[in-house]
Every structure is written in structure tokens, then in C-alpha cells.
Point group: C2
Chain length 195, copies 2
DNA sequence: CTTAAATTTGAATAGTGGTTCAATATTCAT
DNA sequence: ATGAATATTGAACCACTATTCAAATTTAAG
């Protein structure tokens, strides 16, 4: 019997990230993804049920990886809450620095996907966010963070802010250094704009 | 000769906001917008060139209004930079509190539209953002805000954070009070999470 | 009342692109 | 070498929907 040549599943995902980053989900045509992945149009459907499952798979990969890493940080008692918060920011930044197209897909498509398919979106995202919330709660309990901060609102604010910065960077990577954005984010998250 | 009955232009915009909020731009079908606006499908096209112009008109209205109001605040020398920053947050919140559907359209569609049609998006948004940036610069100049804050990054961060919170609220308005979100945002923008 | 100009209608059109599937190709076990 | 099982192909299909336009309607002026 015939055996699958190479890792087409991965090739399709990678091509999809590129094409979706460039054209958005609706602008990303299956035949274009297939072309870039080096497979026939029909082959896509022997690896993924339909177009939607492709982008679900993309986000599943992303948040599975990020959640796994954050989990390790969160459980490490030798790291302070402040450092854990910074580590969270670092994790997201490191991933998206490595893959600019992925950053664009994240910034542009995730919210819409969650709106349209709240129950089918990867559960790892919610887990990641929940772990972030736990980190903030620890910081409040240990007297480092301001107890009047609402952790639920903070998590939306922080994720929104990160997303806004990553998007701006991905659209114009030469505009300003990613290292600076990262430092600024840490500053703003910790101390806000005040002196 | 025949005369136009009622304000169909406005009815179409309002219907479009509702339908797009519920289904997203691509999920919003013209015939559905027409139905809700109480006009025939074809009538849409005697008021707007095509579907895209409808959503452009929505954002043009939004940012024209917000920019006009922020401009007044910015030019008022009797208001401190801190108060101006809070006024900016208030302006955005007031508008979206009044119109939850608009909040959803803003949170879900704006970024994608800017990506796809950067040159055709309403110029009032950029003006609004620029004015916000000016307010921060004033705060730094007058020694209230931290001079190591990069205003360009801050504006992306703040808008992203606002967007993230508004979206969360619009998706589940009963979840938590808008007044609390607003206060939290001011706290986080000013002082961050630290005590 | 009649006519002309403009608006409104909604069925028909046309283009698009996700998905299917019959044909072909490849691999492995015997 | 042969055949069975599986993978791959890509042209054709078909559902969907933005847009068009000829006909119907409405209003105002003469």
C-alpha cells in the first residue's frame, strides 16, 4: 500500500498561516494554500475536514505550546509573581517574534473566531488566560500587586494591549524594535504611565 | 418628481451595525441588512456604492464624532493631562455603552478593515489616536507621566486594552459592570498592577 | 389629470471559491 | 512482478450572495 510522503499536515498548516496572514481568513483561498504547501487542492481535505479546521488547528498548536510553558513557570515557587508576569509577556513575544505571520493571524483572526465558534476554539487558550489570572492573584495575595485590581478585567486589558502591540509590529516590523515593545509592555503593565 | 421617503441612509447604517455585530462583516448578508432597514435589497445600492462603503461609513461616523470631542478636551488648557487621558477613556466608553452593537463591530472588524484597506479607512481614527498621543506627550512634558514611556507603543497598548475590555463586555454585558471596567482601565493606565 | 423625473423594487445574473469524487499514482506485502 | 490498499490529483460541481437592471411606484409640477 501507498504511504504518505513527507509531512503534508504540517506543510498545509504552515502555508495556511502565511496565506491567512496576508489575506485574512476569508481572503485565504484553499487553492492558494494548497499551492504554497505543494499539494493538490483536494489533498487538503484528506488532512483537514474543511477550511475551518485548518485555522482551529493553527490556534490549537499555538496555545497548547504557550500554555505548557506558562504552566511550568506558574508552578515554580522560586519565581516571584512579578517575574511570572514578565515571563508571560516573554512567552507570547518569543513565539510571535519567531513567526511574524503567526502574529498577524493571532492579532486579526482570533477574536472573530472566538465570537463565531466559542465552543470549538482551543481550550488551551482559556487555560493560558486562567493561569495568567492565577499569577496576578498570587501577586495580590503576596502584597506585590494592587489588591484593587480586578483580575478578570486585567486579563482582558493585558491581552488586548499585547495583541495591539504585536499587530502594530507585525504590520511594520521595521517601525520599532520588538525588544523595546517588550520592555515597554512590562513597564506599562507594572507601573502604568505615571511617574 | 418622486422624493425620498424618510432617512433610509441612516436606517441602512443602523441595520448594518446590528447585522454585522451579530454575524461579522462576511456573515452579514445584504438582503438581511435590507430587510432590517425596511428597504428592498436593491435600494441599498442607491445609497451606498457597495457593501464595503457601508462599513466604512459606520467607522467614519464613529471616529468623526470621537475625534471632534477629544479635540475639544485636548485644547482645553484648564484640564490636566491626567484628566485628559481619563476623558479619552470616557469618550470611547460613553459611545460604546450607548450602543453595544457598535462596540462589537468596533472590537471585531476595525483591525481587519485597517489591514485590508489602510488607505481607505476613515482618517478621523488616525487623528483621534494622534491627539491621544499628544495628550501623553503633554503629560510627559509637564512632569506627570513617566518620560521613559514610548508614546507610540503606549497608544497601541492602550487602544488594544480598551478594545479587549469592550469586546469582553459586549459579548457578555451582564458579566461585569461597565462602570467598573472604566475605573479599572483608568487605574491600570495610570498606575499598572503594582501597589 | 397627465406627464416627467426620481425612487424603489426584487427577481435574475454572474462570479466566486469551498468541496467533492472519479481517475491516477504510489507504495508495500506476498 | 502483481495486486491490494492507500494517497494524491485537479477539474467539475454547486451553493451562495453581492450586484444589476428593467419594471413598477410614487411624487410634484404643469
Amino acid at each position: 500500500m501507498r504511504v504518505r510522503e513527507g509531512n503534508k499536515e504540517k506543510a498545509i498548516i504552515e502555508a495556511a498561516v502565511k496565506v491567512i496572514a496576508e489575506n485574512g481568513y476569508y481572503g485565504a483561498k484553499i487553492h492558494k494554500i494548497a499551492e504554497l504547501a505543494g499539494v493538490a487542492t483536494g489533498s487538503i481535505y484528506s488532512y483537514y475536514e474543511n477550511k475551518l479546521q485548518i485555522i482551529f488547528a493553527i490556534f490549537d498548536n499555538v496555545w497548547k505550546e504557550l500554555y505548557g510553558k506558562l504552566e511550568l513557570v506558574e508552578q515554580d515557587a522560586s519565581i516571584s509573581p512579578s517575574q511570572k508576569l514578565e515571563a508571560l509577556i516573554d512567552l507570547v513575544f518569543n513565539l510571535f517574534t519567531e513567526n511574524q505571520d503567526l502574529a498577524l493571524v493571532f492579532a486579526h483572526e482570533q477574536n472573530v473566531l472566538i465570537r463565531d465558534y466559542p465552543d470549538r476554539f482551543t481550550p488551551y487558550f482559556e487555560k493560558f488566560i486562567q493561569t495568567g489570572q492565577d499569577i496576578i492573584s498570587q501577586g495580590i495575595a503576596s502584597g506585590v500587586f494592587n489588591p484593587s485590581v480586578n483580575v478578570f478585567i486585567l486579563r482582558k486589558y493585558l491581552m488586548g494591549g499585547i495583541s495591539g502591540c504585536i499587530q502594530a509590529w507585525a504590520l511594520d516590523p521595521a517601525g520599532y524594535s520588538l525588544a523595546e515593545i517588550r520592555d515597554q509592555l512590562k513597564l506599562l503593565a507594572h507601573k502604568g504611565v505615571n511617574l
